[in-house]
């Protein structure tokens, strides 16, 4: 047992990493399946495996199974090191891991059964919502107690992003999920109509902000400088982009409801703040990029660094596309089309996925005290995944813009050019097929990583030798 394992609790980090791998495969498998359902409706096996029931399973497993597992793994790993103390309570952290996985398993059963509240990314029925609240509170107590007992005075930037997430997620989750239970398996949202839509997209957009963005910025602020052994490029830039990001993000929700019956002033507020969000988002991206340039000559050889680079690139791209899509005129074309699906997946596969993979490649050898089984396989994973993402988003851009254009096409007499809906569906089929193939490649990349990770773990304890990525350091051969 290494000295770090005595001081810090790494078992919990391992637990959440493995959860992340399991739920990652599950979510992406379902994702690829439902992608092909969009081309071959025969793949709907009723009643439990139809698109309408599997799509929430895919999103919940990806966001709350995969992404959140990685978030918790990195949160436990970084908070102990940045505070220089062991996590406050091992027991609470184990309970957290257990109840968390229990909830995800229950979600994986109840969603195909059709038990859902039908609010996007908040589909789980009320008993499961209560379970989520319980383990989140357990986690919060443990996390903040660790911070309050810390031996390091300064709270490092990575921790800010985690704290902002922990504060916001419960507020979003509780307000949006308020509902009246009518039986053990059924409830109705207490809000109705336009209110409900407003609150749902305040939640929906900020789930993107505080589950899929801020924790991943937090992990970037820790693992990127750690990996290249160089400080973050600018502390000041992190201050300014942190505070502006968390302040502005909350306002952006109504851009999901442009041209809807939501009051106009709200729509405009949402649009204006979404456009302003571009700056703090790129502030984060630039801080990452400029940090990374300190080790740029290693990008060719280091898979982790490549993934961080591509992750940041996709972060920059999605946070440019987001404000663009929230402009009324652009939303007029893009809303409700495949373009949005492409946009979301640019963020999730590109930013969240790549950053997660980078962290897994960073953590697994250190946690299991051995070198990575194969750097070459990690590189293969990188290329397969990148190709997969590109196929996915490019086909969705083409599909979405075709879709939106065909809906609005009007001939000389003022009549709809494509009144027949199926004609549009048929036109989109090839692009949707390519989307499925892109997603499939991404899944294959993940499976390559899992093989690599399993082989690495089987070799555990053989000693880990770090590669020094500092400027001017001599290459060390990995045995």
């Amino acid at each position: 047992m290494s000295s770090s394992e005595q001081k810090y609790n790494d078992t919990i980090v391992k637990g959440f990493l493995i959860s992340g791998l399991v739920w990652g495969v599950a979510s992406m498998l379902v994702g690829v399946w439902i992608a092909f359902q969009m081309v071959y409706p025969e793949l709907n096996f009723g009643p439990y495996f139809t698109f309408g029931r599997l799509r929430p399973l895919h999103t919940n497993a990806a966001i709350f199974g995969f992404a959140l597992s990685i978030i918790f793994a990195t949160a436990y790993h970084t908070v102990q090191r940045l505070c220089r103390v062991r996590i406050w309570s091992d027991k609470l952290s184990n309970l957290h891991l257990f109840l968390y996985n229990l909830t995800i398993i229950a979600a994986a059963i109840t969603l195909p059964l059709g038990l859902n509240q039908s609010k996007e990314y908040a589909e789980l029925e009320w008993p499961l919502d209560l379970m989520v609240v319980i383990w989140f509170v357990i986690f919060l107590i443990n996390y903040f107690a660790t911070i309050f007992t810390r031996e390091e005075k300064q709270l490092y930037a990575a921790i800010w992003f985690y704290i902002a997430s922990w504060v916001t997620i419960p507020i979003l989750f509780i307000v949006n999920n308020l509902s009246i239970p009518v039986s053990w398996i059924k409830s109705y949202s207490v809000y109705s109509g336009v209110y409900d839509a407003n609150i749902q997209w305040w939640y929906g957009h900020n789930a993107v902000a505080f589950v899929l963005t801020t924790p991943f910025l937090g992990l970037m602020y820790y693992y990127l400088p750690k990996h290249i052994k160089q400080p973050i490029y600018s502390h000041r830039l992190s201050i300014i982009h942190f505070w502006s990001l968390i302040f502005l993000y909350i306002w952006a929700g109504p851009h999901h409801l442009l041209y809807s019956p939501l009051p106009d002033w709200l729509q405009t507020t949402g649009m204006v703040f979404s456009i302003m969000l571009w700056m703090p988002s790129w502030g984060g991206m630039l801080n990452g990029f400029l940090t990374l340039t300190q080790a740029k000559e290693k990008i060719k050889t280091d898979a982790t660094l490549k993934m961080l680079l591509v992750g940041l690139t996709f972060y920059g791209m999605s946070t440019f596309e987001g404000p663009l899509l929230s402009i009324r005129a652009v939303s007029g074309l893009g809303h409700n089309t495949d373009w949005i699906i492409g946009h979301v997946h640019g963020g999730t596969l590109g930013w969240v996925g790549m950053m997660s993979f980078a962290v897994i490649y960073y953590l697994v050898p250190r946690l299991w005290n051995t070198n990575l089984f194969s750097e070459r396989l990690a590189n293969t994973h990188f290329w397969v995944a990148t190709l997969g993402i590109l196929l996915y988003i490019v086909s969705m851009w083409v599909s979405g813009i075709s879709e939106g254009s065909m809906w609005r096409a009007i001939d000389e007499t003022g009549a709809l050019k494509f009144p027949n809906w199926v004609q549009i569906t048929e036109t989109l089929k090839p692009y949707r097929l390519f989307r499925g193939i892109g997603g499939g490649l991404y899944l294959i990349g993940l499976l390559i990583m899992i093989y690599n990770v399993v082989r690495t773990i089987l070799n555990s304890g053989s000693g880990f030798k770090e590669i020094d990525l500092r400027i001017g350091s001599k290459e060390e051969k990995v045995v």
């Binding site: 009723g46 839509a197 909350i250 809807s260 609005r408 199926v422």
Partner: protein
């Protein structure tokens, strides 16, 4: 030193202090995120426009509500929207008979009894907000639900034959409970509405209920519009 640097100096002057105090930092973070949330979530509750039903819009009866539950259960909202935007091409497509007069787009007052809202975010199939006016035939809907390819060749919608099977007959007492729940959060159901559940739902399958729901969508406002024309 230019003004931006000065601004940064001033700002980091106090954020630097917060970074050493966990409680302060968390508190100020909370304030930062609450500002926007409160600004956007609270005022709509005081705007009557978002809460008052358009004249003639009535709550779902027991059969329609049961159908709405089925719609929700099957996740129809993952592919069908229920919100028509104020564009000519959107109104023409989803209000072909011009049942709603000049402005066949969606209005806040149509949704006041919708717990939850079902606008959806992806329109893979057509919008259904005015389905009662676009396809009023219950028979057509049944054929379509059992196998969508029979009414629309090339459709990618899943088939839902089980909705019409014997095992899918709806338990009326459950729906009465659902109505009582909704009554508590402001849907103006009368005792008569609730007691009518057993007769409305007698022998009805989930599919029958779903069709009743689809034929309710847009009906009340279309009727109003026709009576005004």
């Amino acid at each position: 030193m230019n003004w931006f640097d000065k601004l940064l100096d001033w700002f980091s002057g106090f954020t630097d202090q917060w970074e050493k105090h966990g409680v302060k930092f968390t508190l100020y973070t909370t304030i930062a995120i609450l500002a926007g949330g409160l600004f956007e979530l609270v005022p709509p509750f005081f705007l009557s426009k978002t809460a008052e039903p358009i004249q003639n819009v009535k709550p779902y009866n027991a059969l329609e509500l049961a159908g709405r539950d089925v719609y929700q259960k099957e996740g129809c909202n993952n592919c069908h929207t229920q919100m028509i935007r104020p564009f000519k091409w959107e109104v023409d497509r989803f209000d072909p008979q011009h049942s709603y007069g000049k402005d066949g787009y969606s209005k806040a007052g149509e949704y006041v009894y919708d717990h939850p809202f079902l606008w959806g975010s992806k329109r893979t199939g057509p919008d259904l907000a005015h389905e009662s006016q676009i396809q009023p035939s219950a028979e057509w809907h049944k054929t379509h639900l059992i196998n969508p390819r029979d009414t629309a060749k090339g459709s990618i919608m899943p088939a839902y034959p089980w909705l019409f099977e014997e095992s899918s007959i709806i338990d009326a007492s459950k729906i009465a409970d659902h109505m009582r729940g909704l009554q508590k959060i402001g849907v103006p159901y009368t005792e008569e509405d609730i007691s009518s559940a057993s007769s409305l739902l007698a022998g009805k399958t989930a599919g029958d209920a779903l069709i009743a729901y689809l034929l309710k969508l847009g009906r009340d406002t279309a009727e109003l519009s026709k009576s005004l024309q």
